[in-house]
């Protein structure tokens, strides 16, 4: 109930059409219900009395009723669809706006896929359910009650037949629905699983084919499809009772009306015309009841969708700018004071523990550490993508929680590990960094990020359209575009989170050089797996399982830090004589001898 109230609260300016639609239905149904009643008058006063005047009169009234019903019903449809599409539109707007206020822990809670489903499928479900409710949920009960009232007016005694039929039908339908609903629940769960496994096969088709597992997957799928089939049959076999049950009710009413109605007519309590209108109301009453159960099923099926939407709307964003927020970041100095952080606070598993460090404005810092050592987490705290559990992170001498988040994030540019480009031109994407950047500014940023040469080679240059997900540029090109985009912000702090991994060593080095020359006063933090990326770094931070293992210039680390020395030596082995000797056994023989002579002959012949 609470969910429905919250969802309807989103109607906003569509409250009026949402109210008018059922009112129209009320009038239209009234007209429709009148028709069988008037028909009885036409038969009894017109035909039975052979009075054409009465026929014209009542016939004319019925015609007017039908035409008015047509007009008003159409109006109801117009208002109904305006209200339901409006509701859907408002829901999407609210959800989208809400999600934009979310912090990452909010987003992580729902998962990206979860949020997308809520804004697409779930909203559509609610829209359909609401539209059907507006039209049928008002029509069915009104029609039911009106028909009952009319039949009571005609004959209180005979209308009790309707009551019995209704109770029987309602009980039977309720039994079917209540038995079938949980079955359908598990059907849809199984259905999702099946689709998930198809999805898995589509994305991992290379693995399936490389391991020749087509038959294995086929068997798995056939089994799952078979299970789904069995469940579906069980659920739908119950639904197969719906129509026959309905038939029993209708035939029962007709037969009972025929028997008792004849008696009433012979006793003079009923006219033939009235009997025919009662027969007409049988359909009205029972079909309305059937529709009500349909609505019930549909609304309860979309209730899950409604619940999921409300969950998002009710979520409170856990990172908000303070009231009197600071609006300027003084410089690019960064301090961590006794910082502890875990993604799920309170489960004891700390991603970062007891981090204490100070970085001067303009310094270039390298960050190295194993998978899961907390490198990305550390930098997300600087631009306040997450809040610390305890301790404090300061930028420009002030706690990050004191800044307006927009100001802070404008000053701290992060090139994320999962870097994303958006559909639009290259220029559009670059201007995310600075909306009013000129072409020249963009070109300069691209030059610094070594992105200019491949952009220039593209057919449309800076107007080349990036497809969704950036699929038409390579990983290395994407990374360089993302760096250029961040550079355009002219930030106080620039963070590169492993964002040159797909760029070759040479380009990587030249990007680093450009940084040193062009943005000397910006604090630069470079996360990398390659020690060669740290060439320009003043100091290197080594993280190990969420702790600072060492933080010093490279020369010092080589001497004092085992972790760093290890990595350094593995990656720089070619410098030492000993390694050359190691390699000697593997293959010193000249290139030509590596080829089968016969093959070499073949090649030469082929060449001629």
């Amino acid at each position: 109930m609470d969910i429905i109230k919250k969802l309807l609260g989103q109607l906003g300016e569509y409250r009026r059409p949402a109210l008018i639609a059922p009112l129209c239905t009320l009038v239209a149904v009234g007209m429709e219900v009148l028709i069988p009643y008037v028909m009885a008058l036409l038969i009894d006063r017109g035909i039975a009395q052979a009075n054409m005047g009465q026929v014209w009169l009542w016939g004319g009234i019925m015609l007017v009723c039908a035409v008015v019903a047509l007009l008003i019903d159409s109006a109801s449809a117009v208002f109904g669809s305006r209200a339901s599409t409006g509701l859907a539109s408002n829901l999407r707007d609210s959800l989208f706006e809400k999600v934009q206020t979310f912090s990452f822990s909010n987003i992580d809670k729902f998962s990206t896929v979860g949020l997308v489903t809520r804004m697409t499928t779930d909203v559509t479900n609610v829209q359909n359910a609401f539209n059907m409710s507006l039209i049928i949920a008002t029509r069915a009960p009104i029609s039911l009650v009106a028909s009952l009232v009319m039949s009571v007016i005609i004959s209180p005694g005979l209308s009790s037949i309707f009551l019995v039929a209704m109770v029987v039908l309602a009980a039977a339908l309720a039994a079917i629905v209540f038995k079938a609903m949980p079955l359908f629940g598990s059907v849809f769960e199984r259905y999702d699983d099946l689709n998930a496994s198809v999805q898995e096969n589509v994305t991992a088709i290379r693995v399936v084919k490389a391991f020749v597992r087509e038959d294995h997957e086929n068997q798995k799928f056939s089994r799952a499809a078979g299970d789904l089939h069995d469940l579906f049959v069980r659920a739908e076999s119950l639904i197969a009772f719906n129509n026959p049950v309905m038939g029993v009710a209708i035939y029962g009413c007709i037969i009972a009306l025929a028997w008792f109605g004849t008696h009433s007519i012979l006793a003079g309590q009923l006219t033939t015309g009235q009997l025919t209108s009662l027969l007409g109301y049988v359909f009205n009453v029972l079909i309305s009841l059937m529709m009500l159960t349909m609505i019930f099923v549909m609304v309860s099926m979309s209730a899950a969708s409604g619940k999921r939407i409300v969950e998002v709307l009710d979520e409170t964003p856990d990172i908000v700018s303070p009231e009197d927020a600071l609006t300027e970041v003084r410089d690019g100095s960064i301090d961590f004071e006794a910082v502890n952080f875990s993604y799920r606070s309170g489960d004891g598993e700390e991603t970062l523990a007891g981090i204490d460090l100070h970085i001067d404005s303009g310094e270039t810092i390298g960050v190295l550490g194993g998978t899961g050592s907390g490198k990305s987490t550390l930098v997300s705290l600087i631009c306040r993508l997450y809040d610390v559990d305890s301790g404090a992170v300061r930028v420009g001498g002030q706690d990050v929680r004191a800044y307006d988040t927009e100001v802070l994030r404008d000053a701290v540019a992060v090139v994320l590990q999962q870097n994303t480009l958006f559909s639009g031109t290259i220029l559009d994407n670059l201007r995310w960094g600075k909306p009013d950047a000129t072409l020249e500014e963009c070109q300069a940023a691209c030059a610094a990020a070594c992105a200019d040469e491949f952009i220039d080679r593209m057919p449309d240059g800076y107007d080349t359209v990036i497809e969704q997900g950036g699929t038409n540029v390579s990983g290395g090109q994407r990374q360089r575009l993302c760096i250029a985009r961040a550079l355009l912000k002219r930030p106080r702090v620039l963070i590169l989170d492993d964002s040159t991994s797909a760029v070759d060593t040479a380009t990587d080095a030249s990007i680093q050089r450009a940084f040193a020359e062009q943005i000397p006063n910006t604090t630069k933090i470079v996360i990398s797996q390659r020690v060669s990326s740290f060439g320009a770094c003043d100091r290197i931070l080594v993280l190990d399982a969420g702790h600072v293992a060492a933080f010093a210039p490279e020369e010092r680390l080589i001497q004092t830090c085992d972790i760093y020395r290890d990595v350094y030596q593995t990656q720089n082995r070619q410098g030492s004589e000993a390694d050359f000797d190691e390699l000697e056994g593997v293959g010193r023989d000249p290139l030509s001898q590596r080829f089968d002579p016969a093959f070499a002959d073949e090649l030469t012949k082929a060449g001629e």
Partner: protein, 633 residues
């Protein structure tokens, strides 16, 4: 580009809706011909009972009530007998209604199950090219949307449609028998109804297509923004995203309102026209009855009920037309997938377990000997020869392009001796992964030859070829199931011990044991609960358990940090020992000890040799390795 074929396809299918429906019908009939005949019989019986109950009103009024009104002592026995008869007919009707509804569940669900399995199996047989050229979302929507629409079509629309047709036919016959003039009035009104619903329907179809387009646009925008939400936040782009979203969302709202308004009006219009038809029949009927005396009261009342039973199925059919069109489009996409050419395979050379006999000859055996051989049947003289599987691989003058217009690889020549490690280095897009795609025949070459142990790989059965090549791919994909299941994916008959041994070999055992349920930890959503490095370790273990004679490692360790990689390296070395291995890596440290390094640039091998030779040559490799050169692409 990936969307273009689908759009074209949709247009073609638009003209083929009926054809698609016919195909799906044939698919169903092939399986359930007998049951479907029973369904039709059930439908006919149930609508016959319905018409009989309507006609009963006439008998009730004309044959019983009217005469009984004139009798002093009415005889209820005859009425009771008549009611008994109609009750029996009703029982038959209810029984057959249940019968056909229940049978239809069996038919429709069975058909859907078979269709799902057929679509899936066919999809599995398609070449990689199909998956590379079709958006995965489009493929998925065949399962999630198109087959689902067919469910409605089969389980509801088809029986409803037959029922409506049967009812219309029977009612029409009864109406003609009751009164021809009233039948003409009814038919005229039906004409008006069809005209009106046709007009409204075609107008709303256009708006629905428009709505669908906007819906796709909005959904795409949502998906893109939410997936890139971290970037949105980091760039403070929230407000601009919201503004952009409002614009698109409101366009969708307007389109949706237009479409739904028309569709919403359709029902009341048809319904009200039905009422008007009823009223007109009543007036005309009264006129015929009163002024001409050609019609009895019972007949008129019966006819009016028939009039209602006649327009009701027509309303129903007009509602179902849109469901049929939708299902037709869905069926069209399903059959378009089924019509895709499966991966061709003319290979006939097989991989068999082998034993070296006493005379030094290679023999086929069913035992696990650890040796494999190529079984090469010769058609000419019906003999079979066996060649030991060594792992020698030769590429000679190979040209290749994914599309004819754009050649990716130029004249690739390489020679890998059994047990050698061949490495490919070069910038992204240089063609390294493409070469591995050719070795296992994910794609076929345009020109040149690839020989495996001297056999042209087109002569080897694809499944056998791939079985002999272990692959660790760039994107570490895992499957729903336990960690153990995922390792066992490499060799389905591997024991738990063998899987654990493989995990130990590649240093994955350690982290697996630290997972909440160890080897029984459930993997969901492509391994979303594991780090990228952990996923890669699992895929390496998966290849290890397969124990193939040759290995292809495409950036297999890119997400593993250098320290862990060192640990893995020992395992990888053990894994590569004695196997021909092709390695692609960005990290030059990974390829240093290769027997031969191929330096690739724009689809050509520009340098080749050992690490030392290439360093000494001071060429491209040297530049890449020492980072002295600015540009590589």
């Amino acid at each position: 580009m990936a969307h273009a074929p689908r759009e074209r396809g949709q247009r073609e299918q638009g003209q083929n809706t009926l054809g698609s429906i016919r195909t799906i019908f044939a698919f169903m009939l092939k399986r359930y011909k007998f049951l479907f005949v029973l369904v039709i019989a059930g439908i006919l019986l149930s609508s016959w009972a319905m018409v009989q109950s309507t006609l009963f009103t006439r008998a009730l009024i004309d044959d019983y009530i009217t005469p009984m009104l004139t009798q002093a002592d009415p005889d209820f026995d005859a009425l009771a007998a008549a009611i008994g008869r109609i009750a029996a007919i009703a029982a038959v009707g209810v029984g057959s209604t249940y019968l056909y509804n229940r049978l239809m569940v069996t038919i429709s669900q069975g058909t859907l199950r078979d269709l799902r399995i057929e679509v899936f199996q066919h999809m599995e047989s398609l070449p990689i090219k199909y998956f590379d050229t079709h958006a995965h979302g489009d493929i998925m929507s065949i399962y999630t949307n198109d087959i689902d629409t067919l469910r409605q079509l089969l389980s509801q629309t088809i029986p409803n449609f037959i029922n409506s047709c049967a009812t219309i036919l029977m009612v029409l016959i009864s109406m003609i028998m009751l009164s021809i003039p009233l039948t003409i009035v009814t038919l005229a009104m039906v004409g008006v109804m069809l005209l009106a619903s046709g007009r409204i329907g075609s107008a709303s179809a256009k708006h629905f297509a428009d709505q669908q387009k906007h819906l796709g646009d909005v959904n795409g925008f949502i998906e893109e923004t939410i997936s890139g939400e971290k970037v949105v936040k980091v760039f403070c782009h929230e407000q601009r995203s919201v503004d952009e979203f409002h614009k698109r969302n409101h366009a969708l709202r307007d389109a949706a309102t237009r479409a739904n308004t028309l569709a919403g009006i359709l029902m009341p219009v048809v319904f009200a026209l039905g009422e008007i038809s009823y009223v007109l029949c009543a007036i005309v009927g009264s006129f015929v009855a009163v002024s001409m005396g050609l019609l009895s009261l019972g007949t008129l009342v019966s006819f009016l009920s028939l009039n209602q039973s006649f327009t009701e199925p027509i309303t129903r059919i007009s509602q179902q037309l849109s469901a049929i069109t939708q299902a037709g489009a869905g069926a069209g996409r399903i059959f378009a997938l089924l019509a895709e050419e499966p991966e061709a395979d003319e290979g006939y050379v097989e991989l068999v377990r082998a034993r070296v006999g006493e005379d030094g000859k290679v023999e086929q055996t069913s035992e696990h000997t650890g040796h494999w051989a190529w079984r090469h049947p010769h058609q000419a003289d019906d003999t079979v020869s066996y060649m030991p599987l060594l792992g020698e691989l030769v590429m000679d003058g190979v040209d290749f392009g994914y599309v004819p217009e754009k050649q990716i690889l130029h004249d690739i020549r390489l020679f890998a001796l059994p047990g050698q490690k061949i490495a490919f280095v070069g910038a992204t897009g240089a063609g390294k992964t493409t070469i591995t795609n050719l070795i296992n025949r994910f794609y076929d070459i345009d020109d040149g030859k690839i020989r495996y142990d001297g056999i042209n790989i087109t002569k080897i059965k694809k499944s056998e070829l791939r079985r002999s090549l272990g692959m660790v791919l760039q994107d570490p994909h895992l499957f729903t199931g336990t960690v153990m299941d995922n390792i066992r994916y490499g060799r389905l008959d591997a024991t738990d011990e063998e899987c654990i041994a493989a995990a130990k070999l590649v240093s994955a055992d350690d982290f697996i044991r630290r997972l909440p349920d160890g080897y029984n930890t459930q993997i969901t959503g492509d391994g979303g609960n594991l780090s990228a490095g952990q996923r890669q370790l699992l895929t390496i273990a998966r290849a290890a358990v397969a124990d193939p004679p040759a290995l292809i490692l495409d950036e297999a360790t890119s997400s593993i940090d250098t320290r862990t990689e060192q640990l893995v390296q020992a395992g990888m070395d053990a894994l590569m020992k004695g196997r021909t291995t092709f390695v692609i890596a960005h990290r030059l440290s990974t390829v240093r000890d290769a027997d031969c390094i191929m330096v690739m640039e724009q689809g050509r091998i520009i340098e080749r040799g050992t690490h030392d030779e290439l360093i000494a040559a001071h060429g491209k490799y040297y530049e890449l390795y020492t980072g002295n050169q600015i540009e590589s692409e």
